[in-house]
Symmetry: C2
Subunit: 219 residues, 2 copies
DNA sequence: TCCTTTCCGTTGTAAATACAACCGAACTGT
DNA sequence: ACAGTTCGGTTGTATTTACAACGGAAAGGA
């Protein structure tokens, strides 16, 4: 667990907290570290969750398969990102999605109750962690709204353009790299892969953008 | 402002706080009450927001019109509901959506900074309000994920079924009432109204459901 | 190197959707 | 009672998408 303290220090959850203080807080927050092999399920749809999670190592996808095997990808989790925060409320039901390891991964589990209940003097920075979590959830909220914006577009082209241009804004450059391959991007935007591939090539031919693998340039 | 204290008492934000304590907290939270006429914009896409809002009276829609006038409705806000919480983080950008009054409405504005910075002894229940807000955001988060689930369905029928069955679960009855008329429901699910209307009738003919205006029965 | 697998572009067809237009019923205000 | 408006169902057509299938390029392993 100790080895990942520097990683935790760089997360939004522990922003402003020193490594020593993080170490001291771990037990107070009920921290556990679990490792997963590539392909493992970190969380399963339908389970109940009483923890807030932080990815220490690896890559994860939040996804969901429906009855007919149709997969939809809700998002991508990189190192240091928080997830599971949608289920901190006591009455929140079971998980709506699966979380799957794309690579061998390590995940911190923090007990929700112990995170949000600021304890006494023992950990001085607990209040700051709560506020950090607050902002993190709020930001996740915003990014979900953003994704709903892509999804509300009627055509594949509009979905692609709104997603790519938002990424360009986020990465502050017309050259962008996305965390998805074609199939995954199609699953993320809930469209057919071949139709999307087709549309991408049309847009390239029309001079709207260029791409190679998962790197795009908007023109 | 006083007249709406009983309303506030029943909101999730002030759950567990008595009317007297709420009254005492109002100034501490930087509360302001603003009224809106039917059709007024409560918030506009692109603005910056430094408040958390609670609807005291009326009905609101969260919506967005794109360049071509295509409207998409992100959700419906009823009395006592919190909104604007997606923008509490200091670095969160501008509003992604409009919020529009469907009826004459009254809205409480609470200063974000003053809400999340627990003050001293003056207001005993401030900590509880922060935790309530925490749960509320987390729950909103969950409902956004839920909506993404509807939206990720490929066909109009699947979108309708996932939405309606989720509402049935939420309202705990096969008889459900929705806060949208046909056009609004279509905007909510991001589909064409006539196509949706068509699909609804087909589903009724197949015996999947019955409906009249905005009341539905799942079979 | 060879074999296997993954990735991605392409194509054709069937299915679903968007769009526009129309109509009747219900509701509104005068 | 009347005109004007909203609402919801219906229909036809053009457009878009889903699905299945194929093939070549690239990547990975033995």
């Amino acid at each position: 667990m100790k080895e990942f303290i520097p990683v935790l220090k760089r997360t939004k959850l522990f922003a402003g907290v020193g490594e020593d203080d993080i170490t001291a807080m771990l037990s107070c927050l009920g921290a556990r570290l679990r490792t997963f092999k590539k392909g493992d399920y970190v969380l399963r749809q339908g389970e109940h969750l009483g923890d807030i999670l932080v990815l220490a190592e690896g890559k994860l996808h939040i996804q969901r398969d429906d009855y007919w095997g149709n997969r939809s990808i809700l998002g991508h989790i990189g190192i240091g990102e928080i997830f599971g925060e949608a289920y901190v409320a006591p009455e929140s039901g079971t998980l709506l999605n699966d979380v799957v390891a794309l690579e061998d991964s390590a995940v911190f589990f923090f007990d929700v109750k112990r995170v949000i209940t600021t304890c006494s003097s023992a950990c001085r920075f607990h209040t700051m962690v709560v506020q950090n979590l607050f902002f993190a959830i709020s930001e996740k909220n915003r990014s979900l709204i953003q994704k709903l914006d892509y999804m509300s577009r009627r055509t594949t082209r509009e979905k692609l353009l709104s997603y790519l241009s938002e990424e360009a804004k986020k990465q502050n450059s017309p050259y962008i790299t996305i965390p998805y391959n074609r199939q995954q991007l199609a699953d993320y935007l809930s469209v057919d892969r071949s139709a999307m591939s087709n549309e991408l090539c049309k847009m390239r031919d029309e001079g709207l953008l260029e791409f190679e693998k998962n790197r795009f340039k908007l023109l």
